[in-house]
Amino acid sequence: MRTAAGRRQSKWVVPLFSLALGLVFLGIQWANGDPGSGLVSLAIMAAFGAVFLFGGKSETIRGLRGDGRDERFRRIDVNATAFAGVVLIVYAIVGFMVELAHGNDGSPYGLMGAAAGLAYIAAVVWQRIRS
């Protein structure tokens, strides 16, 4: 029987991941000849990471970064992820229709919608097999 808390992630993972992403953005933008924008990207990602690292009094921050995640927060996370997925799928469908209406081929929204639809079907099949 799985415990209520389950496996918890270190509070350092999300802040360090943010910082690493910021460094990658800096590298990409620097390579494209725009180190100034790269430094801005790094600063934004580092600030984001700092909020997560030092915002431990907030249940939302602790849950998002993983160390305060119990079964209730995992359910919140699943619902929030599903909501974000629906928003993205609607965005892709509307974007596809707008692009078609402008006489274009619907890209990149058509591919986004197809990827989302296929991922959803694959997840349903996988979950059905597992449960």
């Binding site: 415990t3 249940e59 602790r62 849950g63 119990d70 079964e71 209730r72």
Partner: protein, 66 residues
């Protein structure tokens, strides 16, 4: 789901934080269960019932909600 978690916790002189620590969940989760906003998983419901020396049916009423 209607439950007696708050009554049993107060009876034992425990704070929400202490019960949360014993159950390895957040204080807010205990609060949500007591306020009947969150229905705990079966493992957590069993854990709470065992902690208070009761059965799950004695602590939780599946037919009741405020």
């Amino acid at each position: 789901m209607r439950n007696l978690v708050r009554e049993l916790r107060v009876e034992q002189g425990l704070s929400q934080g202490e019960l949360a620590k014993a159950m390895d969940v957040s204080r807010q989760t205990i609060n949500s269960i007591e306020q009947e906003r969150y229905t705990p998983s079966l493992p957590l419901a069993i854990g709470l019932a065992r902690y208070f020396g009761k059965t799950v049916e004695e602590v939780f009423d599946a037919n009741g909600s405020r």
